[in-house]
Amino acid sequence: MAVTTLSYSEAAVRALQQEMDADPRVVVLGEDVGRGGIFGQYKGLQQQYGAERVIDTPISEAAIMGAGVGMALAGLRPVVEMRVVDFALCGMDELVNQAAKNRFMFGGQGRVPLVARMPGGIWDASAAQHSQSLEAWFAHLPGVVVVSPSTPQDNHGLLRAALQCGDPVVYIEHKTLWGLRGEVDDTLVVPLGQAARVREGNALTLVSWSKQMQPCAAACDALAAEGIAVDLIDLRTLWPWDRETVLSSCARTGRLLVVHEAVQAAGFGAEIAASAAEATGCRVARLGAPRIPVGYAPVLEAQSRVGVDAIVAAAKKLAG
């Protein structure tokens, strides 16, 4: 197939097809996956691979995640579907205390190669329990990999890498990126832990990920029009994060702005900012949501959004 235009969700389906073809141990389990998943990210897979490999489950997030751990220990490579990151909390013990700890706690006797997909981020008009960005929780957790792709190409290549890596992976797609279309070269596997440089510039380093890459790119265009050239980096993997790319850019520009959709307080931006300041002495700034639950009414929801104007203003302040 090589290069074609696919949506973010179709790219994921393609990745699963390739990995399921290559490895009969790869299975999918979750609610509504037989009908293609609630975002179409499993579309056609049950028809293609059968109900034994693409397993519709009860609404049992603890059992989905826990069974994934048991399956992995017994030799399968499960993809466990959590619907949205907000519901992954119902399987939190199974992820935090079981999947992430198993290998270490039992002295390497077992491995848990599972990929837990949990779409994150603000989902329009979906209010406080369907719009959270919890990636910092998982990045804080030794034992797991945390991935958050922003493009169809990356969603394809990173999902393949996640399935091949052998460690538990928290895989956070964005709830509103599913329809995003782009060119996908399906021969590529995007290495975990490698960021992408999306724009080049010397005035400032801007780091972001997932859906927030879109306003960041727009902000870079606006800044470029004013002669401010930004080094824009898409982190893609939050753990392990690409220190080399980020820190070498910070060393060059002397300024770092991290932007994320998650609440700013105790967010992953703080980790990057502190690391960059420690390693390079650069000036740092962060931009995230205020520490409030996401509201329903448009005016309330907007309070949690980090928009292009805010990014431009923060960048100018830092660069100036």
Partner: protein, 340 residues
């Protein structure tokens, strides 16, 4: 008591129980500073540290159930996992090394008592989180079914307190929905930490909850190793034949406190005294003597267990600690080294 056992099977069950008791007695002494199976020399620095959950009085359940298991069958366990692990065939000395936190333990000293495990005999781990083993067990059984692993099965031990957590409900439903080869074994020892389980449990408990999900449940006197053996024999055979999940509800008693330092002052001494009358090892011994097994044979089994445990203690005591660098291994491969 049932007595239709093959020749010497009773002695084998007796041996399993006695080894568990000797191991745990020694572990308890070592947690108080001694290193002898006979309980002497207490008072030095603790060799076994941290929470030690003893299964004293409950030995008949793992002995009777695991007698029907093969190495290729899986087992998931609880925080009270020594008996399960030994009964599944794990090496006693390496277990003691793990309790001592030594590099030669099953987990290289990374898990200790609460995370005792021996994957090489299918024992997938004790668990520090109540009810956490149930979903893992159904996952392992699901994999056995999908991978068409002959007629291997998974056995899942859990306590009577665990049935009040959601994962119990989710796992039982899951097992029936997919008709998985899993045997759930509720070790009903009447207590959940320092709270009696009965008043905290609505309805009739584990068997009733299983029955409500169309999972056939069998109640058994869990202090009668022969009764457990015979009930488990039937249930394991049914699960192996592809009949789907089954539940064994074994009524037993927790003789010691919740953890070894817990003196269980909250419980009525009369309750303990009554329970001690039904001690599974004493009962099995009486029964075996009645059926003509020589006392000397049983004494020899007990002495051998004590000697084995004493040797294990000495080995564990002399074994090396893990290298500090081991704290950084087996965390994850992806990004290993980025420990910041």
């Amino acid at each position: 008591m049932e007595s239709n056992l093959p020749p010497h099977a009773g002695e084998v069950l007796y041996r399993v129980m006695v080894r568990i008791r000797a191991f745990e007695n020694a572990a308890e002494t070592a947690s108080q500073g001694g290193v002898s199976a006979y309980g002497q020399q207490a008072g030095g620095a603790a060799k076994v540290r941290g929470p030690l959950h003893l299964s004293t009085g409950q030995e008949a359940v793992p002995a009777g159930v695991c007698a029907h298991l093969r190495t290729s069958d899986y087992l998931t366990s609880t925080h009270r996992g020594h008996g399960h692990t030994l009964a599944k065939g794990a090496d006693l000395t390496r277990m003691m090394c793990e309790l001592f936190g030594k590099a030669t333990g099953f987990n290289g000293g990374k898990g200790g008592s609460m995370h005792i495990a021996d994957f090489s005999v299918g024992m997938l781990g004790a668990n520090g989180v109540v009810a956490a083993g149930l979903p893992i067990a159904v996952g392992a059984a699901h994999a056995q079914k999908l991978l068409k692993r002959s007629d291997d099965i998974t056995v899942c031990f859990f306590g009577d307190g665990a049935i009040n957590r959601g994962p119990f409900l989710e796992a039982l439903n899951w097992a029936r929905v997919y008709d998985l080869p899993v045997l759930f074994v509720c070790e009903d020892n009447r207590w959940s930490a320092t709270t009696a389980s009965g008043p905290m449990t609505a309805g009739d408990g584990a068997s009733a909850r299983a029955a409500s999900m169309d999972i056939a449940a069998t109640q058994v006197d869990g202090n009668d190793v022969f009764a457990v053996h015979s009930a488990a024999q039937r249930l394991v055979a049914e699960v192996r034949s592809g009949a789907g999940p089954r539940l064994l509800h074994a009524l037993t008693y927790r003789v010691k406190g919740h953890v070894s330092v817990d003196l269980a002052a909250y419980r009525d001494p009369a309750e303990l005294a009554a329970a001690l009358e039904t001690d599974p090892i004493a009962r099995a011994r009486g029964h075996l003597l009645d059926t003509g097994v020589a006392a000397a044979t049983l004494d020899a089994i007990e002495n051998a267990a004590r000697d084995e445990v004493d040797t294990a203690l000495a080995v564990a005591d002399a074994a090396p600690w893990p290298e500090a660098s081991a704290a950084f291994t087996d965390v994850q491969t992806t990004g290993a080294g980025q420990w910041l």
